[in-house]
């Protein structure tokens, strides 16, 4: 058998080499210039990186956008499981199902541009929602996201204020090997640096946004080990925020907690004075205005600046404005939509 295998292998390799040497690459035909669709033909897919409470408002916001802007269909698919390969798979599966406009929170900001490029090559419109690609380039049509570094900076500033301008701060956040986390760490560091040494960043605990249990355990460990030294905790991820609010309340320690987002426990904590402040993002605006922009692009509009990065807003909420914060957020969403009409989109009259 062996000689046949060897002979077969040699013949096979030779055939491949000869065939390859005679080959030339086909000219790339731009497929992006697809003809404009009517709103009814546009099917929007909102695809977060995985299941996470932050994205739940996308479902209703997408549904509301569909009603308000009368486009064909909208779906929300959170099956990517925080794995870029799986997310790519989910996206191509949705495309095969007829979805032709995508609002995506990329699992891996460092490689999501490749995913955007693949989809755009097939002629689909893509918006990067709630997170922008790492680096200077955004190959999606636009990125509508919280400026995470700015939001983390605001949160850390609020923490510094809450602790009276001096003391020890701890930062709780998400996946360390995620470039957004790196930006958050940089934002907190900037606020700490600005105190000129009065505030010390005691610890930055990462990788605890996987689920609430992980975050709760990390907070319990932190409070047990260093609870008496910590003056404030700033959180820049959802699960650590909920865990820190609950943990500090339970431990009855005089630690100021700066949370993120508006989980009911956090809002209740602010009302009760247990949470000093929270920094809200704008998931509803991202999904609602993102869907609107995708429909407009599908109808034939173009981006004035392809790949433009737009801040969807972040809002510091304290006891002073806890009753009215949603008005600010709704106002930001409205202004984002009109900004798309007036600044970001170029549409034929």
């Amino acid at each position: 058998m062996r000689p046949f295998v060897r002979l077969g292998s040699i013949v096979g390799v030779l055939a491949v080499v000869i065939a390859a040497s005679a080959c030339t690459k086909k000219e790339d035909t731009p497929e992006g210039g697809t003809s404009a669709l009517t709103a009814a033909q546009v099917k929007v897919a909102l695809v977060p990186g995985g299941a996470h409470p932050y994205f739940q408002p996308w479902k209703d916001a997408g549904g509301k956008a569909k009603t308000d802007f009368a486009f064909g269909d909208v779906t929300f698919n959170e099956t990517a499981g925080w794995d870029q390969t799986k997310q790519n798979d989910v996206l191509t599966s949705l495309a095969a199902q007829g979805y032709n406009a995508f609002g995506i929170f990329g699992v891996a900001p460092e490689s999501i541009n490749s995913t955007f490029e693949n989809l755009k090559k097939q002629g689909f419109h893509v918006g990067s929602l709630a997170s922008c690609p790492a680096g200077d380039k955004n190959l999606a049509d636009f990125c509508l996201s919280t400026d995470v570094q700015e939001a983390a900076y605001k949160a850390a500033k609020a923490a510094v204020d809450a602790m009276g301008g001096a003391g020890n701060l701890v930062h709780l956040t998400g996946n360390k090997v995620d470039s957004n986390t790196q930006r958050r760490i940089a934002g907190v560091q900037k606020a700490v640096d600005e105190t000129g040494g009065k505030v010390k960043l005691l610890d930055t605990i990462t990788d605890i946004d996987k689920d609430l249990q992980t975050a709760q355990k990390a907070v319990a460990d932190l409070l047990a080990a260093k609870g008496s030294q910590v003056n404030a905790i700033v959180t820049t991820a959802y699960n650590p925020a909920v865990a820190a609010a609950g943990g500090v309340k339970q431990a009855k320690l005089p630690i100021k907690v700066i949370a993120i987002d508006d989980d009911p426990t956090i809002i209740a904590g602010i009302k009760a004075g247990e949470v000093a402040a929270t920094v809200l993002q704008n998931p509803v605006g991202q999904a609602y205005v993102g869907s609107y922009a995708l429909v407009k692009l599908s109808e034939g509009c173009t981006m004035a600046t392809p790949g433009v990065i737009i801040d969807s807003g972040s809002f510091v909420v304290t006891t002073a404005n806890v009753a009215t914060y949603d008005n600010d957020r709704a106002a930001k969403t409205t202004s984002l939509k009109s900004d798309f009409d007036s600044k970001y989109l170029t549409c034929a009259k």
Partner: protein, 349 residues
């Protein structure tokens, strides 16, 4: 391509030729065809070339190599719990070579493979010298490498990934052979990644089928004591099998980096479960002594087809996991049923 245990004493008469239905690989092929037929009936988009078949082939290419990486040590009855992190370290080595030394694609690949092989050999060396269970050694190695990968990326990049890829690597992601033509004749719609995985499959298959080293690894896996007494250098074979596992993990890391578009710290995160699933589904024994390379490829293909099919049916996250589990359980049970039937009729399966 199942490798029978060569230490069994010779039968007085050669066993009857395996009937087709009793061949486990045929069972898997039938299952694969049945699944494709089922999903195509439910969703004709399953046969969409650009959006389903090409990405699926690329995924199968990556995960087949991941499966082979585990198979290389399963042959000994060992496990490699660090398969994902070895891939991450290899991707780091490739990225570093390109980033700092401007290494071309082939050199970056070679560097990555060398890194994987070295790490594998290190695991093999520790296991063979200390006699500590491979599960424990590779799990400890995995923990150590998680930290190391994170530290290395933090030191050598401005975040969690290298910017830029060697020339030609993007083509591996985006192009198929249909993009290359000799005159009017263009290649098939097969991604450029597929032949690389095919070479790995052939080499591993030939190694365990025909090479002395491969057969000796299987003998060591079947009965280490007997192999030792027969003059087989069991320690060396252990190191070699682990080095092969590391090398294949490195190749899988490279393929995934090509597929996702970046050498990043997240490469290999999702490798562990699929690495066991494909070989076991394909008929490789966890206790060592018998491997099935073709079965591993078929096992990978089945898993990916199920995943893609369920994605196309737009199951939500919990249902998706539930159904993947159920379909795999059904597949394994059917295989077991076939095995029992074959035993009753006196044919080995």
């Amino acid at each position: 391509m199942k490798q029978e245990d060569t230490t069994t004493p010779e039968q007085p008469r050669p066993p009857a030729r395996l009937p087709l239905w009793a061949n486990p690989r045929i069972g898997l092929v039938v299952l694969l065809i049945a699944l494709i037929a089922l999903f195509t009936t439910l969703r004709p988009a399953f046969l969409n070339t650009q959006l389903t078949l090409v990405p699926m082939q690329a995924d199968i290419s990556v995960y087949a190599v991941v499966g082979l990486s585990q198979l290389a040590v399963l042959s000994l009855g060992h496990m490699n719990m660090a398969v994902g992190r070895m891939a991450a370290m290899s991707a780091f080595a490739s990225g570093l070579l390109h980033d700092r030394l401007d290494a071309p694609l082939i050199l970056a690949l070679a560097g990555g493979l060398a890194m994987g092989a070295l790490l594998g050999a290190l695991a093999g060396l520790i296991i063979s010298r200390t006699g500590v269970n491979s599960f424990v050694v590779t799990l400890a190695l995995d923990f150590a490498l998680i930290g190391l990968v994170s530290l290395l990326y933090a030191s050598f990049t401005d975040g969690v990934a290298f910017n830029g890829l060697p020339a030609g690597m993007s083509a591996l992601r985006t192009d198929t052979f249909a993009d290359y033509c000799a005159g009017d004749v263009c290649g098939p719609e097969i991604p450029l990644l597929a032949p690389i995985a095919l070479v790995a499959v052939l080499v591993v298959g030939l190694l365990f089928r025909w090479s002395r080293t491969g057969r000796e690894v299987l003998m060591a896996g079947s009965n280490a004591k007997a192999a030792e007494l027969s003059g087989i250098p069991v320690r060396l074979r252990t190191i070699q099998a682990h080095a092969l596992s590391g090398l294949l993990a490195g190749l899988a890391g490279f393929l995934l980096s090509a597929n996702n578009g970046a050498f990043s710290a997240g490469v290999g995160d999702g490798f562990l479960l699929p690495s066991f699933l494909a070989p076991v589904l394909g008929g490789t024994l966890l206790v060592g002594g018998a491997v099935s390379v073709l079965g591993t490829v078929l096992g990978t293909a089945i898993t990916q087809v199920i995943y893609k099919g369920l994605n196309l049916l737009q199951f939500q996250v919990d249902e998706l996991k539930l159904y993947i589990g159920l379909v795999l359980l059904a597949a394994l049970s059917l295989d077991r049923l076939r095995h029992v039937l074959a035993e009753r009729r006196g044919v080995p399966a």
